[in-house]
């Protein structure tokens, strides 16, 4: 299965942190930053206070394709870059939350064999959803200490909209990204 060759080689080195993780962590972060910023230029109208960040699908994709370290760095640095490009300053807890989102989703890297297969795509969405839940929960709960909000505001006002928005984007765009990646990996042969 040619499209799986890239991960078959790497799966045993899930927690390795070398040149590959440095480079793809940086690429994931830069893409996440640029697309987060671009979303502000072409915003997607949404219901209520749910905002859609299509860039989240890129983060989950990099986590699934290159592992947890790449996901962690892409989320942590990428969110910081996106906020800085937009000029919003630094929100450390949301950056760490995004990093956790990538880290947890990246554990799914272990289980994905065929990037075109329906079963593996569903698995990837599942890991992505878990990552989104953990990351956004962390960011929302830490807002209790940072902003002084209470638990119900953290859950209903912050966590739920962030989780729903990110989940929808991931469920729609991740399969497209995975299928496209399978084609690129097959052509590259590594």
């Amino acid at each position: 299965m040619s499209n799986a060759s890239i991960t078959m080689d790497e799966r045993g080195r899930t927690w390795e942190f070398g040149t590959r993780q440095v480079v793809y962590g940086a690429i994931g972060a830069a893409l996440y930053g640029v697309l987060s910023w671009a979303t502000n230029i072409f915003p997607l109208p949404a219901a209520g206070n749910i905002t859609f960040r299509p860039a989240v699908a890129i983060l989950i994709f990099f986590s699934i394709a290159y592992g947890p370290w790449v996901g962690l760095l892409a989320g942590l640095i990428g969110n910081t870059l996106g906020d800085m490009l937009t000029g919003w300053g630094l929100y450390w807890n949301w950056s760490v939350g995004n990093g956790l989102m990538g880290l947890v989703a990246g554990i799914g890297f272990l289980t994905i064999i065929n990037y075109r297969g329906t079963r593996d795509i569903l698995k990837a969405i599942g890991w992505g959803t878990l990552g989104i839940a953990v990351g956004m929960l962390f960011a929302s709960l830490t807002e209790m200490f940072v902003s002084g909000i209470d638990l119900s505001t953290a859950l209903v006002g912050y966590f739920l909209p962030a989780f729903l928005g990110n989940f929808v984007v991931t469920a729609v765009l991740l399969p497209i990204l995975m299928i496209a990646f399978a084609g690129v990996a097959a052509r590259r042969g590594r």
């Binding site: 440095v22 480079v23 671009a38 072409f42 000029g87």
Partner: protein, 289 residues
């Protein structure tokens, strides 16, 4: 479309500070407010004034930060402020039982909520507390050279690999922004209307795929080339050297000392002397009684 990086070199006290100093000082203030759970307006207003002074010293033009402030104001005033007034949420548990006169009763669709003086004051304090932290964080993108983030974190004890990832991400940014611009132009030439995404939410998101997929896939190919180049130069086999060096000046020690002193003072006030809990000043109560 160009990525308009917000940084501009200005000869200000804030920009002359070592970047590590600024991160450490911000961490001290955030921890001073959050760790001992300070809600006393006397401490919060003092730190608010300090934060405002430092923000003004950064001399960032209003037109640069207008959008960011709009976002902060919406978040702080509408989400946090109104929530604090209506529900008194988020503060210390003593707030809900704090004895204070009722200013008015809010009646909405049969739901009645007494708005007390304590809740009004809590909203003011909470807004000041949040703005204190926001004003320390906001100037970073406008006043810190993007080329020194890597070395800053390296000198703060972060590993070479993570610091280099950060450095590399900043350098990739304009490249991917350019790739995105080219892709948008190419898709527009084929009749794709970026500004007119129609249909339901799912189909709108799906229609972003022609922009996102080419840029992402091209970046994965670029990544392999960069890995090859770095491997050929034996990246990660020895300790890295960095082009820029950072040195602390006396003003940096002063600022770090001030930050640490504020943090310790807040902890001592709260945990040793019991000062720092939420209180409503008499003058504020008299305004409504």
């Amino acid at each position: 479309m160009l990525v308009n990086w917000k940084y501009r070199p200005r000869d200000t006290f804030i920009q002359r500070l070592d970047p590590r100093t600024r991160f450490i000082f911000m961490a001290c203030i955030v921890l001073a407010l959050t760790l001992p759970e300070i809600w006393d307006y006397r401490i919060i207003f003092s730190l608010f004034l300090l934060s405002l002074t430092l923000y003004l010293m950064a001399r960032i033009p209003w037109k640069d930060v207008r959008r960011a402030w709009m976002y902060i104001f919406i978040l702080v005033f509408f989400i946090v402020g109104i929530n604090a007034v209506l529900f008194g949420r988020g503060g210390p548990s003593s707030l809900t039982s704090y004895p204070s006169p009722v200013v008015f009763v809010l009646s909405l669709l049969g739901w009645e909520k007494p708005i007390t003086v304590a809740r009004l004051w809590f909203a003011v304090v909470q807004i000041a507390r949040m703005l204190t932290m926001a004003m320390l964080a906001l100037p970073f993108p406008y006043t810190l050279d993007p080329n020194i983030y890597g070395i800053t974190f390296k000198r703060m004890g972060v590993s070479d690999q993570i610091s280099f990832t950060m450095d590399l991400a900043f350098r990739f940014l304009p490249t991917f922004a350019r790739d995105l611009t080219i892709t948008i132009d190419a898709q527009r030439a084929r009749g794709y209307e970026v500004e007119k995404l129609s249909g339901g939410i799912v189909s709108r998101i799906q229609r972003l795929a022609p922009l996102i997929i080419p840029v992402t896939m091209q970046s994965t190919v670029t990544g392999e080339e960069v890995i090859d180049a770095m491997d050929l130069r034996a990246f990660g086999t020895a300790r890295r050297t960095w082009l820029k060096e950072l040195h602390y000046a006396p003003r940096d020690y002063l600022m770090i000392g001030l930050g640490i002193a504020i943090f310790i003072a807040c902890c001592v006030l709260k945990w040793v002397y019991g000062i720092g809990d939420f209180i409503v000043p008499d003058f504020f109560i008299k305004l409504f009684v």
